[in-house]
Structure formats: C-alpha cells, structure tokens
C-alpha cells in the first residue's frame, strides 16, 4: 500500500495550524476542481487534496495519522506499526463507493469519510451517474445513427467485493446532435445499493475534427484552393460536401477570403425538422510551387499589361 504524505500534498509544514491547512486546501481545491481546472489529472489531484484536508483538518484523525506517519519508510512504502489495526475492520459501508485512497480507507475505514453535505446518505442508495465522451463523425450527425458504446462500471459481488465489468450498449444517436450535448441513458450508470436505484449514464457528444470541414454553429466551412487563373477567369469545380460531391461555380475575379454560400449543405438542425445549415466555401488563391521560363514570360506580359496596384491604399498615406 502506498503511503500518502498529506502534508506534502497540501504543501504545508508538519506543524501547520488549522488555519494554514484550510488556506492551503482552498487554494488547491480551486486549482484542481474538475469543473474548473484544465489540468489533465485534475480529478485525481482534487481527490487527493480533499482526502488530505479531511484528515489534517480533523484533530483526531490528524493525531492518528501523525502517529502512523512516523513509520513511513524513505522509499514511500508503508509498513504498518506493530499492533496497528486497520480501520477496515471497523465499519464497512460497501455501497458508499468511497472516492478515497486505499491508504485512507485502511486507516479510517470508508465510514471515516465525513461530509456536511445533506444528501450524502441518500447517495449511498443511488448508484453513481457516469459521464463519458462519445466521439461522433460529422457525417453521422446527418441522420439517426446507432452506435455501440462500451464502458466499465463497478459491480458488487455477493460477498461485498468490488469488481469491474465492461458493459456494451447500442445507442440511437438522434440526427442533429451538437458538440457538448449530453444524452442521458436512464439506469445505465453504476448500480445502486440494496433497494437503491441505479445511476444514469450521460454521453457527452464530441464532434471528431474533420479533415476538410470546420464547424461553425450549424454551418460548415471548407477552404477552396484556387489557381490564380481560376480566380481570375472563374471556374466550375467538383466540391466535396458531407453528402457527396457537387459542382460549384467560382465567379470571375474572385478574391482570397471570399465566402461562397452553398445552401442546405451544412449540419442538420433539430428544429425545424429537416432543416440544415449552409456550407461556406472560403476561397484561397495559391501559387504553383514551381515555374519555368515560358510561364515566367507569361507572368511578365501580364504584369506589363494589367495596370494593377494591389497596394493603392498605401500610396494615399
């Protein structure tokens, strides 16, 4: 079992007073709260910090912990002191689903978790909700899609031990789902305790980045590279959309950055049913990477004949 140095976790000295511990905890809690933090291990860090605070802010627990801490070996391992009775013998509440470490549980038991939050007791009977990301391809948002999802949930065996099982579900994803939207699957979360209701599963929709299209609300954006002569003379080209290729006309004298709208080729809207956003084609004039003497001559002719000053607005200044 890994020994937890709660003082180190909170960044306080071993003789820190309660006030210092509270300040240190609050700072770290704000920093690592999973709803606020972008830190990749935010949830783990937050649990660790909360656990440390629960122990060090409680005088009785802190005294017990300080005693055990003396037996902590240098390598971080933990040899229980002689005659130490792990708290696991005390009271066990298997349905509570402790968030705290094995180290904490073995010292204080799961029942050692104090919380002033009124509904904690009721939570013991309701299984926890699970929230998980569901990546969706843009193409799959156009119509109702069935997706098979797999996730793990803890399962409590008859003798009170916890194992993990993998669950698979086939889920209907409605047309027009949006990034960040949550789909609730009732009763598919963690199982509840005896007589308790099961938790729910929430699928958080994440749109997989597309190699060609960017999303802006219900509209899609595609960048269209054009040769200088295509921009100058106009052109007809085959353009990819989410549902197959279409022919698009580029008007003569088109500019880089110009947006052409293709109606109804964007993403599906939920309401009104059947309506879709638009596809915007953003033009980008690109130069050929190589050239030769003949081509150079042609450009030179063009330069001589076309009286064009692209920087006319500079000369006014």
């Amino acid at each position: 079992m890994e020994f937890k140095d709660y003082y180190k976790i909170l960044g306080v000295e071993a003789n820190a007073d309660k006030k210092a511990i509270k300040v240190a905890y609050r700072k770290l809690a704000r920093k690592y709260h999973p709803d606020v933090s972008e830190h990749k291990d935010a949830e783990e860090k937050f649990k660790e910090v909360t656990e440390a605070y629960e122990v060090l802010y409680d005088e009785k627990k802190r005294a017990e912990y300080d005693e055990v801490r003396q037996y902590c070996s240098n390598d971080g391992g933990f040899r229980p002191p002689p005659g130490w009775r792990p708290g696991a013998d005390r009271q066990e509440d298997f349905s509570a689903g402790s968030d705290f470490s094995d180290f904490f549980s073995s010292m204080f038991g799961q029942a050692g978790q104090q919380s002033d939050f009124g509904s904690r007791r009721r939570q013991a009977s309701k299984g926890r909700d699970i929230e998980t990301d569901l990546p969706i391809f843009l193409e799959d948002t156009l119509s109702v899609e069935s997706k098979t999802i797999s996730y793990t949930i803890p399962q409590y065996t008859a003798d009170g031990r916890v194992t993990e099982i993998t669950k698979s579900l086939s889920v209907k994803i409605p047309a027009g789902v949006e990034a960040g939207e949550r789909i609730r699957l009732k009763g598919q979360g963690e199982p509840g305790g005896p007589n308790g209701i099961d938790g729910d599963l929430y699928l958080r929709i994440r749109l997989v980045p597309h190699p060609l299209f960017d999303v802006e609300g219900h509209n899609l954006i595609i960048t269209v590279p054009l040769a200088p002569w295509e921009a100058a003379l106009g052109s007809k080209l085959a353009m990819p959309t989410l549902d197959g290729k279409i022919t698009m006309s580029i008007p003569p004298n088109s500019q880089t950055g110009q947006r052409l709208r293709i109606r109804g080729k964007g993403l599906v809207k939920k309401l009104p049913v059947g309506e879709r956003g638009d596809l915007f084609a953003v033009l980008k004039v690109v130069m050929p990477k190589t050239t030769n003497d003949d081509i150079k001559k042609k450009w030179q002719e063009l330069a001589d004949q076309a009286a064009f000053d692209p920087r006319s607005e500079w000369s006014d200044k």
Binding site: V36, S115, S170, V171, P174, E181, R184, Q188, D214, V215
Partner: protein, 102 residues
C-alpha cells in the same frame, strides 16, 4: 440490446431525484437564474438534460469550494463564457491554419 431510454426533458421532482438533491437546492439554483426551466411554476417546470449537468456542477462547486449561490451563478456563467471562448479560439486557430498552410 437496443436502448430507447434517452430522455431530453424531465420534471422538477425527477430532476431532484436524478441529481439526488433536496428540493430547496434546485429552487435556489433556479432562483439564481443558473438554470432557466420552461414553465411558470415548479409543477410545470421542464428541464433539459443539459440543465441536469449544470445543476450538478453548481452543487459540486457549492459543496467542494464552499461558494455561496450568487458566487456559483457568477462562476458558472464565467466558466460557460470561458468554454465558449476556448472552443471558438480552437476553431479559429484551426481555420487559420488551413488558410495559411501552403
């Protein structure tokens, strides 16, 4: 197994049950305008799944960071803005990359 239990809306009592919260918490959250259910009175209120997750977030912040309800309302609205700006920034960067890559 085909699953058809997706729910987009729920009533007040179901929200309290689903989020596992006493009624006064949810009433407080609605009063602060943190979520705005449709309907004029609690028995007519209709909540979306998104509101459930905001409600839970509000309660977590209240419980874990010891913030009062007006503070939660402010934090949630700022977090929302931040999330939107991050998403927008990400999109614009991606579009700029496509535009400047040759």
């Amino acid at each position: 197994m085909m699953n058809n239990t997706q729910l987009y809306i729920m009533k007040f009592d179901e929200l309290c049950r689903v989020a596992d919260l006493p009624e006064h918490f949810v009433l407080e959250i609605v009063e602060q305008g943190i979520i705005e259910p449709e309907g004029d009175s609690p028995d007519q209120w209709v909540f979306t799944t998104h509101m459930v997750s905001i409600t839970k977030k509000a309660v977590r912040l209240h419980r874990d960071l010891d913030i009062d309800w007006p503070g939660i309302a402010l934090a949630i609205s700022l977090l929302d803005d931040l999330e939107q700006l991050r998403a927008e920034n990400h999109q614009l960067k991606q579009r700029l990359n496509r535009f400047t890559a040759y």
